[in-house]
């Protein structure tokens, strides 16, 4: 895999690509809050919205592909809840204290669904937002430049670590390390695989710090920006709508109108 500066960004000219990164970030936050406060029956609507969003940008296939990684998480959230739901009455199968229950299945589906909605929204954000645009947009909205840079570096750390892990896996297997087989063998492989990532990252950090210093990073308080991030009026209206609707949802939930 070749590492790219743009991380997960997929170039495009869709309506979502054109949104200001802060608008999109707010939309992700909106999804995250809504997913956990709306009643279960509204959840399919929410998931439907993010799926339609993905489809409208032509990125649905990429989004589905990226679900392979957290798929195990969704399945385990569902299974754990389905079998271990506390105080379940309507049991389908019972093995001592453990049992599959209708309440558990329902709760498991809802929990997995909430996380799925947030995950898809976040992935869509990463796919349609150039990290640097996010940085400039945040700075433009008054965020500290250093803080924004840290956020940006964190986003970009993931693909970098992926490439590094692949190299480490090669190197340790070439020294006879078995990474497949019994649970014991797999457990034994953890330190040789994780150790170099941690130590190597520390060395990288030192060189990167020195290089950033040499480029004058943080030398002055006033800083200019090369990238111009568009913030059309429609984005401002959208942000107001997002914030207002989020307040409305939270108030409605607190007041019990949605139950």
């Amino acid at each position: 895999m070749t590492r790219r500066a743009s991380g997960y960004f997929t170039a495009g000219e869709t309506w979502l690509h054109r949104r200001n990164p802060v608008t999109k970030l707010l939309a992700v936050a909106w999804t995250a809050v809504s997913a956990f406060v709306v009643p279960p029956l509204a959840l399919p609507v929410l998931i439907g919205m993010v799926v339609v969003g993905a489809a409208s940008t032509g990125l649905l296939a990429s989004v589905v592909r990226s679900l392979r990684i957290p798929a195990l998480l969704f399945v385990s959230i569902f299974l754990v809840n389905a079998f271990f739901y506390p105080g379940a009455i309507d049991r389908l199968i019972a093995i001592g204290p453990v049992g599959l229950s209708w309440e558990g299945i329902a709760f498991g589906l809802v929990s997995a669904g909430r996380i799925l909605a947030v995950f898809v929204a976040s992935i869509l954000f990463l796919f349609t937002t150039l990290p640097d645009d996010l940085l400039e947009a945040l700075v433009d909205k008054g965020a500290s430049h250093r803080l924004a840079f840290v956020v940006l570096s964190a986003i970009q750390l993931v693909p970098r670590l992926q490439a590094q892990s692949a190299a480490i896996l090669d190197a340790q297997q070439a020294r006879g390390l078995r990474v497949a087989g019994s649970v014991f063998a797999r457990a034994r492989a953890v330190v040789p695989l994780v150790g170099p990532i941690v130590l190597g990252s520390l060395i990288d950090v030192r060189e990167r710090t020195l290089a950033l210093e040499a480029r004058g990073f943080g030398a002055r308080r006033d800083r200019t920006a090369y990238r111009v991030v568009e913030d059309p009026p429609v984005d401002r209206w959208m942000r107001i709508a997002i914030v207002l609707s989020l307040i409305a949802i939270v108030v409605a939930v607190l007041a019990g109108w949605l139950h």
């Binding site: 070749t2 590492r3 790219r4 500066a5 743009s6 960004f9 150039l130 990290p131 640097d132 940085l135 940006l152 570096s153 970009q156 970098r160 590094q164 190299a167 480490i168 090669d170 190197a171 340790q172 297997q173 070439a174 020294r175 006879g176 390390l177 078995r178 990474v179 497949a180 330190v191 040789p192 150790g195 170099p196 130590l199 190597g200 060395i203 990288d204 060189e207 990167r208 710090t209 020195l210 290089a211 950033l212 210093e213 040499a214 480029r215 004058g216 990073f217 943080g218 030398a219 002055r220 006033d222 800083r223 200019t224 920006a225 090369y226 990238r227 111009v228």
Partner: protein, 590 residues
């Protein structure tokens, strides 16, 4: 009036007994390139950090003395004093770029943003620097997809664009191929000619050749200074290692130091037989490194294996065909150097030898058995693979435990493991470091630890990916003696390398790759001979320095190093002498 004045600089890192720099003084004037030579750990990097204003502000150390850049003492200044005045470039091309910018143009803009240069002025400044440094064609490329040489040029540009008139470079060519090194050398000369002051720590001959002056450091002290040729020749005793090949040949030919890196002048001088005898003596006295022992005695058990590669094809996801039909047979006990430009398929080929990559067509067989069904970890005992970056594998807190990791994976008995570890430490010269944490060692030594870790598994076939990269000449000699010892015991060594002199000295076969196929497979004396010069050029390679001088002298054959060329000349002199005596004898008898 020098732009950089280092005056009686002392640096000591916390927790270290010996100082990193001890009363070092050096001056660099505008328009000058001053190179800093010396072995690993001599203090070259420390001097670079100090001049770049990073000591002690960013890297903690106790510092005394002065480092003036212009009129500012950068050891006592803030970042806003130094940013835009002095900049530093390191050896790892990838780590210096901000790695967040989608293209080269914005990468260059990063420094300007930090200096609060108005947006409207940025493009003009960026275009000017890109044009001057010959990277305008890279403007829209993603920096992370560039070659190492291109990334280094972008890194230099990103410092120059800030208006810096002092440029410091710490081994900028250590990780580059020969073509990339030439590019950097030319670039630095151009920048100096524009009036900038350049301080560069480097041991590649290409960079030393473009320097105006050289200072040689040993254990933190300046041991000689002057024209590069002279400074390197004078420091042999203090540094304990011979100068680069061209300098040895220049001394043998009595070439003045100013011309020591001029191949044509060296060839002309050596061709004049008269001057040769007088200077041969001087050249011989520089060969101290010959005395360092080889580890042949340590290598014992021999399990020879034949490697056979047939019709190997490999495609990476996305359709790039990295190997397009490679055939190669490697007999037990042979040494093969695989050379070629970055992207020619060398590493892809090597990764098929131990199953890290699987062929899309063709096969790899070890002693007649196809290896495609075998696990990488099962092959590890027979085929040892040493990767370029040691930091992808080191994780133990002690060197000896790190070296024992491979043998432990093979499930050997503890007593045997202990013996193997001792042998490997002996071969790599790390006996004194067995209890050291690998990460307290410099990168060239860490590379030796990684090498020792594979040697300890006593594989029949040893595959080395760029083993001499970032090694100094002493480290390169060490790796060379290990290759010799391994081959002498009947095992196979295959190395990917950009170091043609290393390849010519220690390998019996030179395999040249270009665009996924083998274009040349000959012993070094033929591969690097004059008739192949054009072919090598198409692969971004050039013969080792001694062979280049020999071909300028019109000699047939390609000597691997200075000794080989001088021996060749001595033999020719003797033959000529014998002929002329024979002729005069005939004259008297008739």
């Amino acid at each position: 009036m020098p732009v950089v004045t280092v005056d009686q600089l002392n640096v000591r890192y916390p927790g270290r007994k010996v100082p990193a720099l001890d009363a070092v003084s050096v001056a660099v004037e505008a328009g000058q390139i001053v190179s800093v030579a010396g072995r690993t750990g001599a203090g070259k990097s420390t001097l670079c950090l100090a001049v770049a204003g990073l000591l002690p502000r960013v890297v903690r150390a106790s510092v005394s003395g002065r480092v003036l850049v212009g009129s500012v003492d950068v050891t006592r200044s803030t970042q806003s004093d130094t940013a835009g005045r002095v900049g530093i470039v390191f050896s790892s091309p990838g780590l210096q770029l901000s790695s967040s910018k989608p293209n080269v143009r914005e990468e260059l803009a990063f420094g300007l943003e930090n200096l609060a240069v108005p947006r409207d002025d940025m493009d003009e400044r960026i275009d000017r620097v890109m044009g001057r440094l010959g990277i305008a064609h890279l403007a829209d490329r993603d920096p992370l997809t560039l070659s190492g040489g291109e990334q280094q040029r972008v890194a230099i540009a990103s410092i120059v664009v800030m208006g810096t008139d002092v440029l410091v470079l710490d081994e900028p060519a250590a990780q580059l191929d020969p073509l990339g090194t030439d590019e950097i050398a030319g670039l630095l000369r151009g920048l100096a000619n524009d009036g900038r002051a350049v301080l560069v720590a480097e041991h590649s001959a290409e960079i030393l050749a473009v320097s105006d002056r050289c200072i040689v450091l040993a254990s933190g002290r300046v041991v000689s200074t002057g024209l590069p040729g002279a400074a390197l020749a004078d420091s042999v005793a203090a540094v304990g290692i011979g100068p680069p090949t061209l300098v040895v040949l220049a001394m043998a030919g009595g070439v003045p130091p100013a011309e020591a890196f001029n191949e044509e002048a060296v060839a002309r001088a050596l061709a004049g037989a008269g001057s040769r005898a007088a200077h041969l003596e001087a050249a011989t006295s520089t060969r101290v490194e010959r005395a360092t022992g080889s580890g042949a005695a340590f290598v014992r058990d021999v399990t020879p294996a034949t490697l056979e590669i047939r019709g190997l094809v490999h495609r990476y996801p996305g359709g790039v065909e990295a190997l397009r039909g490679v055939d190669l047979t490697v007999q037990p006990g042979s040494t093969v150097a695989i050379v070629g430009q970055n992207g020619s398929g060398k590493t892809t080929l090597a990764k098929h030898l131990n199953g890290l990559l699987r062929p899309d067509a063709g096969h790899v067989a070890l002693d007649g058995q196809d290896i495609s069904a075998r696990l990488v970890s099962d092959l590890a005992g027979q085929i040892g693979f040493v990767f370029q970056n040691p930091d992808d594998q080191l994780f133990n807190s002690r060197v000896d435990r790190e070296v024992g990791f491979g043998p432990r994976n093979l499930g050997l008995e503890p007593s045997r493991i202990a013996r193997l570890v001792e042998n490997a430490l002996g071969l790599t010269g790390l006996e004194g470091e067995r209890a050291t944490n690998p990460y307290d060692l410099d990168i060239p030594v860490r590379k030796l630890v990684a090498l020792a870790g594979v040697l300890a598994m006593e594989p029949s076939v040893l595959v080395l990916d760029e083993p001499t990269m970032s090694q100094d000449r002493a480290g390169t000699r060490r790796v060379g003696s290990i290759v010799d010892a391994w081959a002498a015991s009947g095992r196979t060594v295959i190395a990917i390398t950009h170091d043609m002199e290393f390849a010519a000295r220690h390998f019996a076969r030179i395999v040249v790759m270009r665009e996924g196929v083998i274009v040349l497979d000959e012993p070094p004396s033929q591969a690097f001979a004059a008739q192949n010069a054009t072919l090598l050029e198409t692969t971004g390679l050039k013969p080792p320095p001694a062979a280049r001088v020999a071909s300028r002298m019109g000699l047939s054959g390609a000597p691997a190093d200075a000794d080989a060329l001088l021996e060749m000349l001595a033999a020719r002199d003797q033959r000529a002498l014998a002929r002329s005596e024979g002729y005069s004898d005939e004259a008297t008898t008739s």
